[in-house]
């Protein structure tokens, strides 16, 4: 589904991402973790086509993606959420979600019914006519996910969707994400809430200083000395045992 081959991106003299290679198979939930500034967001921007790689190649559905044209990549079936939500501020919640569905369903009426179904699925149905300005951080994160899902993607990039959610909301969101592969959506997920990502993701890729330092099953990764040293800390290693 997705294949990164020795991908690198340089900003000035700094390599934000260097020599990153990994693949994602259809139906997987792959978690990406790493400390702040490790290059996770740059990695997402590269996969989504928003940033052009300096080296290497990114293949999505067996085609090299159209670097620098995120709208082309999106039309091929890739959707993403942004770490800082990017809603359409002058529109209602329903219109925000409906807009995502408009590419596949050409009239607002058809797109609306898709949007309503997705909002019920994410449990923001009761916010349909609210203005975006009135939403809490947690609701904005859910809206971000609903907007991405309404494009009916085959691959979904989630960028810290749990940040700002309350514990019950995190539980809800974990259920939603875990159910996505059954709906035909493959997930690549950046997250700092370890409890959530370690329980839901099937495979974890650890990034540190722009490079992959470990990948594998959550249980194995959490015991890896390099990962513990770079990111998780000693305390988490004990807890994982």
């Amino acid at each position: 589904m997705l294949k990164l081959d020795a991908v690198g991106r340089q900003f000035g003299s700094l390599w934000a991402i260097r020599d990153v290679s990994f693949t994602v198979e259809a139906g997987e939930i792959v978690g990406i973790i790493g400390p702040n500034g490790a290059g996770k967001s740059t990695l997402f921007n590269l996969i989504a086509g928003a940033v052009v790689p300096t080296t290497g190649a990114i293949r999505f559905l067996d085609r090299t993606i159209d670097y620098g044209k995120p709208y082309h990549v999106a039309r091929c079936g890739l959707a993403r959420t942004f770490q800082i939500p990017k809603p359409f501020k002058q529109l209602s919640v329903r219109e925000n979600v409906m807009l995502s569905a408009l590419r596949r369903h050409h009239t607002p009426r058809q797109a609306n019914s898709v949007a309503m179904a997705i909002m019920e699925f994410i449990r923001i149905g009761e916010l349909a006519e609210a203005s975006v300005a009135s939403l809490t951080v947690g609701q904005l994160k859910k809206l971000e996910l609903a907007r991405a899902l309404a494009t009916e993607p085959v691959l979904l990039l989630l960028d810290e969707v749990m940040a700002g959610l309350t514990p019950p909301e995190i539980k809800d969101m974990m259920t939603v994400i875990a159910s996505l592969p059954r709906r035909g959506v493959t997930v690549v997920w950046v997250e700092h809430v370890m409890m959530a990502i370690m329980n839901v993701a099937e495979r974890i890729v650890v990034i540190h200083q722009g490079q992959v330092i470990a990948q594998g099953k959550p249980a194995d990764v959490s015991k890896d000395p390099a990962v513990v040293g770079a990111y998780l800390g000693e305390k988490y290693a004990y807890a994982a045992r």
Binding site: K69, P87, E126, S131
Partner: protein, 356 residues
Amino acid sequence: MIAGRLSAVSGVQAISLSIAPRRGAVSLVEIAVLASCIIAAAVVSNRYAVDIMIRTFLWAGLALAWNIAGGYAGLISFGHAAFFGIGAYTSTILLLNFGVPPWFGMFAGALIAACAGALLTRVCARLRGPLFILSTLAAGEVVRIAALNWRSLTGGPEGLEIPPVPNVVDMVFKSQWPYVAIIVAYMLAMFALSAWIEQTRYGYYLFATRDNEDGASAIGINPSHTRTAAMALSAATTAIGGTLFAQYFLYLDPTHVISPDISFQFALICAVGGLGTASGPVFGALIIVPLSELLRGLLSQSTSGLHLVIYGIIVIVVILYFPSGVSGAIGRTVSRFFPAGGFAARVQTEKYDAQA
């Protein structure tokens, strides 16, 4: 922005949410206001009153055209006088030099203006906010200076005059009423176009590109194409208004027709009436145009310039107190009295009860 607050109390939960503003759909208020203007002018039937009405409706149509780029797509342009001038000059030059009736000439002007608008958007593709606005202002000035100096084509500063010989084919009439009919038709067509844009996929793409370009790209919208198309459509419809202006006043010169003042007036009418709505520019024109004419009539004899000072103060007060424009204020008032009527508010409290 926030059109109304609505709260529902149920059992353990109280939800309070603000309802997003409603666009589109012609309200009875708008139809009543427009109809009463036409009837009033017909009853008064004084040449001056009818003239003000024609100007008002022409400016309403032009402001609606500006609003497609400035309001819906967020492309605030201070260069629209160039498109207005292109429309006015193209049809007039075709009429005077080749005898092409303005009924066809206006579409030639629209086509040229659309190309100019698309070109401008492409050239300024990387500019946003104030830089984009300044570049449109500069583009408008380029067209004005070109028109001033290209004497063989435009007549230079002396301008062009359309012979005042009434003739349906040349769109020149003795009575004012055919102009009323043509200009009201133009305004209604612009209103219908705006209302249609608000309800189609393309309109939503415009809103998305305006509100968040990265977010729009991420759901498959090409922001550059969307912007270019909006500016081309806005330029073309502005040019048609330019032709109507030329046919009504029968005289054109670059200093008055391609002046930045014209562009500012488009923006001002939309800001006062309400940006990004179909009714906003109409309300804006209904307030601004008669007001400036009235003030000029009443005050210009006493102290020179006083009417402009008072006009400026009134505009500042309106913008300060109605940041979402007059149409936004009317929308709020309507929603206060009919909370369920204009807004599809849907508050599901049962679900919360079930979870609690």
